[in-house]
């Protein structure tokens, strides 16, 4: 696989959310606005790239038996960095993401890439893989947040799209938890249909 493929596979072909159904917790929880989705995506991408880099660098040093705890320690280090940095420079975003910043530690995308990719590959492909997967995760969250923010608040990234008349009486459920589950079902269903069509066509 070329480096370009390593990068682009995370966007669609192996998109962590749409195709692997990983990282569902932040995908459901923080996508109530596009701003939150972007913030979460950036934080997760940073942690993903850094942890992929370190895991790949130490892949021959870490004993196989304690690899998972080692990954967690590495990931937790970067999450703490992000947590403190965001608290210092973007307090508003930090406030709205809340508990989900520390929870990046247990994000299955990051652990999954460390175990599934960085552990077996050289440093440069691991970094590229981290960027691709991180951007794929961000893309998925922005898509979801776009639906939720427009339907549930009539705006996109804070810009009023549908007018104040709509904002007075929006489809509130879209930014509540049930709306997240319903929209997720439709989005994943859509990708399943696309997958089926593609396979049907290939036959």
């Amino acid at each position: 696989m070329s480096l370009r493929q390593e990068f682009s596979k995370g966007m669609m072909k192996e998109n962590p959310v749409f195709k692997q159904a990983l990282g569902m917790c932040p995908f459901l929880a923080v996508t109530s606005s596009v701003e939150n989705a972007l913030g979460m995506g950036a934080a997760a991408t940073f942690v993903l790239v850094s942890s992929n880099f370190l895991v790949s660098l130490f892949r021959k040093v870490i004993p196989a038996k304690v690899r998972i705890p080692s990954y967690i320690v590495i990931i937790a280090t970067f999450v703490t960095l992000v947590d403190l940095l965001m608290n210092a420079y973007l307090p508003a975003l930090h406030q709205s993401l809340g508990i989900f910043i520390p929870l990046i530690v247990v994000n299955c995308i990051i652990l999954g890439r460390a175990e599934g990719f960085a552990n077996k590959n050289k440093v440069v492909p691991s970094i590229i893989d981290g960027i691709g997967m991180g951007l794929g995760f961000t893309l998925a969250m922005v898509v979801m947040a776009t639906f939720r923010e427009i339907l549930g608040n009539g705006s996109w990234l804070g810009f009023n799209l549908l007018g104040t008349a709509y904002q007075n009486q929006p489809l509130l459920i879209a930014i509540l938890a049930p709306g997240a589950f319903i929209l997720m079902a439709f989005i994943l269903g859509f990708f399943n249909i696309m997958e089926k069509r593609k396979r049907g066509g290939a036959k």
């Binding site: 009486q169 929006p170 489809l171 509130l172 459920i173 879209a174 509540l176 709306g179 319903i182 079902a185």
Partner: protein, 360 residues
């Protein structure tokens, strides 16, 4: 009917039954008509308009979904979509804009029913999920859109009775379009909050439980959702269903019985001083107990299971009414029990004939 067959027939012997989906559904539609007449009488032509919009949207959504999924579109006319549309409209206040029941019906059919595979595959009652969707999306419209019923004679004499308590003759004000008013359950719930003034709370409760108020509850002359208020008209419809052999009474009776029992146990301010009759007549218990809890798809098939289902729903209804965030818990209790249906069915499976009970 050949094109309606979506399953393979098993080898004989078969048990024949005159009950067809179509017949059952249209029977339910007929049974719901009396409540519609009451809604027209108490809430005016707007109620009819809302019901019509809801039913139209339900059938149209069903048709579109079937078309999209390349299934036989005449499923849309088997009556089940009409029932869903009717029940959804019966579950919204009459003061809401027309697009609200339309949206609710479309959601009920598209998400709660067709997304799960259509009639027979839905895990919860579509109309109730549609209502839950509306309550979550438009809490203000769905809980403040109450319109007090109005009776007009000769266009001059307007007598308004909100929450079952006569408020006098308002003819001096002239023509009114609508008057908002609280529902009896709303009022009851509020009295539980007046801890500092027990006399006032007691007084309001007494007027709620008065003979006059009970008569209004029974007739439907109270604020409430479009189709839930008139106990007598709903009972009339239920009687028709019983006579037609469509309604199996285990679910309604166990549900209403447990609402009355738990209503007496903790439906009042203290213990053992609730008014069971009030809890039966107020809110959506009669509508839910005869027309929504009896949905064949989402309730247990075993006899014992049906009774457990009814008791559980009654308990939940009363718990929500007494301690929950909403004044009425009928719809949520049925939805919650719908989700327990597979579990109930599993544990109440009767022993087959000839099978020896384990550890028996």
């Amino acid at each position: 009917m050949a094109e309606n067959r979506i399953f393979d027939l098993a080898v004989s012997p078969h048990v024949g039954s005159p009950q067809k989906t179509k017949r059952v559904m249209w029977d339910v539609v007929i049974a719901l008509i009396p409540a519609l007449i009451a809604a027209f009488w108490f809430f005016g032509p707007k109620a009819l308009m809302l019901v019509g919009a809801s039913v139209g949207a339900a059938v149209l959504t069903e048709w579109l979904c079937l078309k999209f999924m390349k299934r036989p579109v005449n499923f849309a006319f088997d009556g089940s979509a009409v029932v869903t549309g009717l029940l959804l409209a019966y579950n919204v206040p009459s003061g809401v804009p027309w697009w609200l029941p339309v949206l609710g019906s479309a959601f009920a059919i598209a998400v709660a029913k067709q997304a799960f595979g259509g009639l027979g595959h839905n895990i919860v009652n579509p109309a109730l999920l549609g209502r839950a969707f509306l309550v979550a999306s438009f809490p203000v419209l769905m809980t403040a859109g109450w319109v007090a019923p109005m009776e007009w004679r000769d266009g001059q004499h307007i007598e308004v009775q909100a929450c079952g308590v006569p408020t006098g003759n308002l003819s001096e004000i002239g023509e009114l379009d609508a008057l908002s008013g609280a529902t009896p359950l709303n009022v009851l719930k509020q009295t539980f909050g007046w801890e500092g003034e027990p006399e006032r709370a007691e007084e309001v409760r007494e007027s709620l439980f008065s003979k006059e108020s009970m008569k209004n509850l029974f007739m439907g002359r109270i604020g409430g959702c479009i189709g839930e208020t008139s106990v007598i008209m709903l009972l009339l419809g239920a009687l028709y269903l019983v006579l037609r052999g469509v309604l199996e009474l285990r679910l309604p009776l166990s549900y209403l019985g447990s609402v009355a029992l738990f209503g007496w146990l903790f439906g009042g301010p203290g213990w053992l001083d609730g008014n069971p009759l009030f809890h039966l007549f107020a809110g959506g218990v009669i509508l839910g107990g005869f027309f929504m809890i009896t949905d064949m798809v989402t309730t247990p098939v075993t006899k014992k299971g049906r009774i457990i289902f009814g008791i559980g729903a009654g308990l939940l209804t009363m718990v929500i009414r007494r301690w929950g965030g909403y004044p009425e818990g009928c719809s949520y209790s049925i939805l919650l029990m719908n989700l327990c249906t597979p579990l109930i069915d599993r544990y109440t499976k009767p022993v087959s004939f000839g099978e020896v009970k384990k550890n028996g």
